[in-house]
Amino acid sequence: MIYFDNAATTCMKPPEVAVAVARAIDSFGGVGRGVHEASLDAGMTVFSARQRIANLFGYPNPKQLSFAYNATEALNIAICGLLEPGDHTVTTAASHNSVLRPLFRAQDSGLAEVTIVPIGPDGSIDYDEFEAAFRPNTRLAAVTHASNLTGDVYDIARMAEIAHAHGAFLVVDAAQTAGIVDIDMTSDNLDVVCFTGHKSLYGPQGTGGLCVREGIDIKPFKVGGSGTHSYDREHPSFMPERLEAGTLNAHGVAGLLAGVTYITDKGVDVIRAETQALASRFENGVREIGNVKLYGGGGMDRTGIITLNIGDFDSALVADLLNAEFGICTRAGAHCAPLMHEALGTDQQGAVRFSFSHFNTEEQVDAGIAAITEIAKELS
């Protein structure tokens, strides 16, 4: 198997991730549920993970980092917890459904209005259009840092500046960028960064969270067991517990900590450079193949995603041939990014997404190029 579906879930993890999870499974108690060794071991691991991840995002206070099940849950927590009746919100057509659907639900229930900033056919955004979308009652802009369809990276520092100039918060969906693109909440003045653990942070599925700038109060949508203040009628108001209820997935967070430690030891810049080199090698290899259409490239940078179609053939057919005949894993279809597909004109055909990891090899990339070459030849 050759795995090029890392934008969905990274399959090849640093070996220490599995080791950390296996150790945790056999040794952890509940975080904050006792002072015995098993509970403290879990608690210290989770605390270390808060420190490591907050530091990765350039934020000095680890207590502002709450864990969640994934980026989707984190985005729901942030968006639903910030909105008030009568608010207006802004997003872009590059957004994943994890942003769009909470906003659409708020719109459909009459809670808030939504303005969607268009994306160009090359994946680019017009920041003047982005600014023009703001209104006096705009409460927040929820934006993706990088398209999960094209890998185009957007200028979140500029978006934050625009949002703040209009008195709004910027909520960033970093599902595609955490661990592979620099994120600096302090220098970029970001308000909320939502992340998932199972993609480029190399953690297990079921890990993720949000880092919230101090002073921003997000109303929790779930309350319950906290391990502290048990006789209080209300859930604790302090971060990070304010946005966490119930026993944390400390087993998963142990793996996430191992993944993030690997990243910080190796360096985000190194991982990005290695990943982009593989993506560029693939892009250059398939660019000249007749009938191959490539998408995106209009962002300020690129993650490790190259998305294509062969002629007008169904993307699902191409992805299935890659899988069945070449053992190559990609993702076809809509990628939970309906508006981005509309922007690219691929809403009917879908697209075949190759998403690379720095754990991939040049030989694997060349096998991918050869497979596309052969499929394009057979289908033409």
Binding site: V35, M44, G227, E241
Partner: protein, 79 residues
Amino acid sequence: MREKTLKQVVTFATTSDAMAMEAAAREFGIPGRVIPVPSEISAGCGLSWCAGIDEKEALLAGIEKHSLSYEGFFEVLMY
């Protein structure tokens, strides 16, 4: 028979604050250890930090030096 002695107990607003204390203690040798919050201070559950009464100065110095957050400082007669 076990007898009660006076202890220095520090309480925290969050589990994370208690873990920050534990981390600093492991790294820098601040005296004491994590204990459940004594019922004399608060009913319910949660984590606190307990040190000997004669370790108060070292405890306070460690908390200040490493900018550790805490909720309250108590002297408690406990087993």
